[in-house]
């Protein structure tokens, strides 16, 4: 039986960039005990002799001819921006002050 503590879930939420209330963290940690138990069944048959499949098609390096085609105008690209300035996306501060 695998279980995730409230603090484990808090760490995952931090990695996934999702703020979560204490109640949500506690609920998720309870649910995860059940869900992980159910999905851990894959380990029963996943022997070392079985090759993994990441994708249904055996594709490798798909290319198209290197020609310029129409693309979005700056106005179109910015049309959904929550905030913009001088034809650019305006974003909050990324680097810390220290």
């Amino acid at each position: 039986m695998t279980s995730l503590s409230r603090d484990d879930v808090a760490n995952l939420a931090r990695l996934a960039r999702i703020e979560m209330s204490d109640e949500e963290l506690v609920n998720l940690s309870k649910e995860f005990t059940v869900i992980l138990d159910a999905v851990a069944r894959v380990q029963e048959v996943a022997g070392a002799d079985v090759a993994p499949t990441s994708h249904p098609l055996p594709l490798r390096n798909v290319f198209r001819p290197d020609v310029v085609v129409a693309s979005l105008t700056p106005e179109e690209a910015l049309s959904g921006a929550p905030s913009q300035e001088e034809s650019r996306f305006r974003v909050p501060q990324i680097l810390g002050e220290e």
Partner: protein, 497 residues
């Protein structure tokens, strides 16, 4: 008129019995009168649809050569971008977003003159089996408004069953086209992976996602399939090969000598008795039509659900990282001095619903160092085993069949607090996505105990999608002659209309 099939509507458009503007208006009127009860649509594009219809009418009047479905209306799942039309994926994080480009599916629809009525409701980012996970409220099953219409494409299936549209687009990652079709008595097809472009389909699980046609008849699904399928240089995973001859197959319906493999593991325990009754009856009808029924075994299918709930969340945790509040969509907490990281954290807290968060966290865990091999790695191996099961079974048969879902439509709210019970809905549909092959669900009748629709699933090898249409058309013909009318003629009237 709105109860006609799309092919019948197209024929009437061709003879001039009706114009596309008139046909579109009839459907817009129907939406206006019943959608307050059904809630299939998140956005109805009255003006855009009528403008598109008028354009088709004038081309037809000018004597231009028209595509088979030109002028027929369609409902588009809200996971597919359409330029300038709101696209939310059932999520608050995309509320108000109007994409600056068309998905390739929409480009193909427009090229074929198919009129897009609006965007249909869905589980948030296609994660769910009931449409209850939409941030904009659930869709109701037209057979019984207290029940779910399936999911994630419950809006598209409900729109068909409520005669709000004769055609719809769905997407299927683990059954989101086929399960809604099953519980609403409609037809839904998940084409072979790569058969229809994913460009402009907002990604959930990229190695599983596949768009496909939803309709009320097998022929209508085939006509729509041909209109949207084909190679697309904008999607590197789209297959560069001719589209299987699905329309010809749907018109033929000849199954004489075909071998139909019944999957031993997708029947019996856990399947509602009325689902089994209708499934057995369908097998008898196919045998009477000349097919040979054989039993096949797929021992690793029992691990498909577990593998799916590792692979799909893993891919989703990566795909949904794009919703970072920087370039489009919701932004919360952007106050003076707030860091980008705190804005992302707050936006994603408010913008995502419970199920989406659950899957992102699960995927983050399954991909984290130390657990990767045990979870995601093992799930990828199961994927290999499932594909091998299919390959072995297809040596003994031309198509494989099973019930689409273990039960008929359940009540809204019945399973919403039990993720595992909800996930079990997809037990028979998931193997198809894992192997990237084609799957179809079509109505097999009503379960005697509750009078609700049951779905019959047909699975075909990759790029042999036409086989599903052959078998589907044969079964549909046999069932309609038994019933004397299409199944949907038995649906209760909505609001007395």
């Amino acid at each position: 008129m709105i109860r006609n099939s799309a092919a019948e509507m197209a024929a009437k458009l061709n003879t001039g019995e009706i114009t596309s503007v008139e046909l579109t208006q009839l459907h817009l009127d129907r939406i206006a009168s019943v959608d307050t009860d059904v809630h299939a649509f998140l956005y109805v594009n009255n003006e855009g649809a009528l403008a598109q219809a008028a354009e088709v009418d004038s081309k037809r009047a000018a004597g231009e050569k028209m595509s088979p479905l030109a002028g027929v209306p369609l409902a588009l799942k809200d996971v597919m971008t359409q330029k300038g039309v709101p696209t939310t994926c059932g999520s608050k994080i995309l509320e108000g977003w109007r994409p600056p480009y068309d998905s390739t599916v929409v480009t193909n629809l427009k090229k074929n003159g198919i009129v897009i009525l609006g965007k249909t409701n869905m589980d948030e980012f296609a994660m769910g089996s009931s449409t209850e996970n939409s941030a904009y409220g659930p869709t109701h099953n037209p057979w019984d408004l207290s029940r779910i219409p399936g999911g994630s494409g419950g809006g598209s299936s409900a729109a068909l069953a409520a005669f709000e549209a004769p055609l719809a687009i769905g997407t299927d990652t683990g059954g989101s086209i086929r399960q809604p079709a099953a519980v609403t008595g409609t037809v839904g097809v998940k084409p072979t992976y790569g058969g229809v472009s994913r460009f402009g389909l907002v990604a959930f699980s990229s190695s599983l996602d596949q768009a496909g046609p939803c309709a009320r008849t097998v022929l209508d699904a085939a006509l729509l399939h041909e209109a949207i399928a084909g190679h697309d240089p904008k999607d590197s995973t789209s297959i560069n090969a001719p589209v299987p001859q699905v329309v010809a197959a749907a018109k033929s319906g000849d199954v004489k000598g075909m071998k139909i493999g019944v999957v031993k593991e997708l029947n019996g325990e856990g399947y509602q008795s009325g689902v089994r009754t209708r499934f057995e009856e369908s097998l008898e009808l196919l045998a009477a039509a000349g097919a040979e029924i054989v039993e096949v075994s797929a021992p690793n299918f029992e691990y498909a659900l577990a593998a799916y709930y590792l692979i799909a969340p893993s891919e989703c945790s990566s795909n949904l990282a794009r919703f970072d509040a920087m370039r489009y969509g919701l932004r919360v907490g952007d106050v003076d001095g707030a860091s980008a990281e705190s804005v992302m954290n707050l936006t994603r807290e408010v913008g995502f619903g419970r199920e989406v968060k659950r899957r992102i966290i699960l995927g983050t865990y399954a991909l984290s160092s130390g657990y990767y091999d045990a979870y995601y790695g093992s799930a990828q191996k199961v994927r290999t085993l499932i594909t091998q099961d299919f390959n072995k079974a297809f040596e003994k048969c031309d198509v494989m069949v099973s019930p689409t879902c273990p039960t008929t439509a359940f009540k809204i709210g019945e399973k919403s607090n039990d993720p595992i019970a909800m996930y079990l809905n997809d037990i028979a549909t998931i193997p198809v996505n894992m192997a990237g092959i084609g799957g179809m669900s079509l109505p097999a009748g009503l379960a005697p105990e509750d009078g609700l629709p049951v779905g019959f699933q047909i699975m075909a090898p990759a790029m042999q999608d036409d086989r599903m249409y052959l078998v589907g058309a044969a079964l549909e013909a046999a069932l309609s002659s038994k019933w004397g009318a299409p199944l949907l003629s038995k649906i209760p009237a909505l609001a007395g209309k």
